[in-house]
Subunit: 204 residues, 4 copies
Amino acid sequence: MEITISSQVKDPERIRQRRAEIVRAAVGLFAEKGFHRTTTREIAQASGLSTGALYEYVASKEDVLFLVCRHIHHTILQQLKASLAVEGPAVQRLRQSIQAFIGVMDSMQDEVLLIYQESKSLPSPFLHEVLRQESEITQVFDNLLHEGIRDGSLRTSPKNVPLLAHDIVVAGQMWAFRRWALNTMDFADFAASQTERLMEACGS
Amino acid sequence: MEITISSQVKDPERIRQRRAEIVRAAVGLFAEKGFHRTTTREIAQASGLSTGALYEYVASKEDVLFLVCRHIHHTILQQLKASLAVEGPAVQRLRQSIQAFIGVMDSMQDEVLLIYQESKSLPSPFLHEVLRQESEITQVFDNLLHEGIRDGSLRTSPKNVPLLAHDIVVAGQMWAFRRWALNTMDFADFAASQTERLMEACGS
Amino acid sequence: MEITISSQVKDPERIRQRRAEIVRAAVGLFAEKGFHRTTTREIAQASGLSTGALYEYVASKEDVLFLVCRHIHHTILQQLKASLAVEGPAVQRLRQSIQAFIGVMDSMQDEVLLIYQESKSLPSPFLHEVLRQESEITQVFDNLLHEGIRDGSLRTSPKNVPLLAHDIVVAGQMWAFRRWALNTMDFADFAASQTERLMEACGS
Amino acid sequence: MEITISSQVKDPERIRQRRAEIVRAAVGLFAEKGFHRTTTREIAQASGLSTGALYEYVASKEDVLFLVCRHIHHTILQQLKASLAVEGPAVQRLRQSIQAFIGVMDSMQDEVLLIYQESKSLPSPFLHEVLRQESEITQVFDNLLHEGIRDGSLRTSPKNVPLLAHDIVVAGQMWAFRRWALNTMDFADFAASQTERLMEACGS
DNA sequence: CATGAATGAGCATTCATTCAT
DNA sequence: AATGAATGAATGCTCATTCAT
């Protein structure tokens, strides 16, 4: 199910470590100069690898981009799901999750922007996997909204749910991709305003 | 104020015509394969120019990208401003503009996506100009919101205005940049839902 | 029918000239160091072209190899066919052709060796064309043999013809590909001996 | 006299076994993809060795090619010499040897082709040894021809002998290197025809 | 003004060989 | 002896830009 990136190296633990280094290095480079303007030599060097060693852990530059995108999504999803581990009516968990999500968007501005700008450079199967992961994020809110409707804590129609879920995600991500305009604004204000607006839109 | 792209050619009308061709060709190519994967040869050919002639109307590939972005913004702004030419309370003009804007986003999906994905490849002065134009779009809604507060047709605080304006723009643009997920949805439904949600958020 | 090698350049005469240069340069390099040990940079330089210019006349290194092989076969065939332009019984024209062919093998030792050693590096469609051309050479002798049988100047069975034709070709080519062993021998002796032996085998 | 390929390993029997594996693997790979397109990794893997272990039995990729060529020649010579162990006039042993040789060419088509196409990649001292072995094969026929002249079973002049010996070898090898054209022919027919023709050329 | 051939720096990727473990 | 990860020079090819005609 999960896409597997092939490696020449046998030790899985070493692969894990080196790829973590590669991703760490590449996020910085891609965020700074973009995927196409970053050379594999730069990625290798910034990862502490030789030109050739990079290709022992990855089969192409596109593989690196995919690893980067996947890592970003994993991180976001993990933090988002952690925020769900509270008791109470769905409306409360929804608010919690929106706040958590916006917080993650703040701490991962570069990464979110990167996905917006570079994922189109992914080969088709990789792109689909990345979009699937992006959908998974939206799905978290989709599920919460349905729960809220079921337990009566949210007053909105199920037919509004899918779009509302997307609105939530986009309202959070914009802190990253419209940073150039929103940087005059205090993050706390942004987070509070967006949360309130979204909660109301969801019928809280 | 406006950035001027230099040209070897004297006749301004010829420059206008040729650049229109270049932009038309480049929008298609950039949308299809991205800025970096498009070659200047392809742009020239698709514009009906020779490789060399392209460089009589433009000094670099980045110039082409800038012309493309500027043209997209001009088109959007023009259509958006046309929607303002109605009488009545601001609330009514706001609704009109939001609907118009979402309509434009639908008809310019490729172009909007293009700006999201490729504007980072612009050299700094160009990028700033493009962001200024993007702000101009937001400003349209910003102004309408302030008007609505002044004429009492909108019940919201002025301090909410900047973010609300951004929310409106992003809520429209997402039809373009999340097309991969929203394509299961009918455009009319999308437009209606977003308009309602945004109007309520604005205190209509 | 004939395979066409694509070029970015429009002027066919210029293509002809430059490719002639490329072939001339490549024959020398391939003969000296082999196809794989020759770099495209070397080919370009030896052709009086820049690295990039080479690729205006050819799409890949394999294209160069094909052009080389085709040129060699064209030259051989042309000289071989010139030798047929005599009157008289087939037996006489056969002898003439064998002598001419062996003479060509002598003057094109490097080229014949090159085809033996490098044609396997051709992509499949090119390889087939090269083998077709090689067959064309054999066919010349095949035809002469049949003529000789018909006009009674050769006493052999038609069923022997195909193999005899190959024997002739190979008996000539060996002057090139077994040069390392035959270089103790005088060319005139070689030519005379092989011609006699082949003529007898053909039933003259 | 014999060239010795150095090894890091002490035990000669182990060297023998491992090199036999290497040769077996490399023949297949070289025949399939050629010397240059085969990687040392592939050779190692196909030999059941690790990348590093390969270099304990061989000092370079060229060493492998040499071992391959030498093994091929050994096999051919051994089978050829086995065919000489009959009594009778030289003419009879010659016929026997030609038939045996052509049979070997049939069973070793890939190997013979390999030597034709790849031996030029051998470093000079190796190449000379390989050519010496090739000469040894020719020498078998050279000797038989001289014997036949001495014992009166062959009517030809000693001065024809060297070239005749080469003709025999080449006439057999062509079954391998012109396989692409001769594959329409039955092997038995080929063997019979070539044997007759060669015997006659030798004055039987 | 227009053409399109030429330039050459730049890039992703490969692979023979080495060497620490 | 064996392993397999690491090295880094080398290579085929691309493409933005220039400039002679």
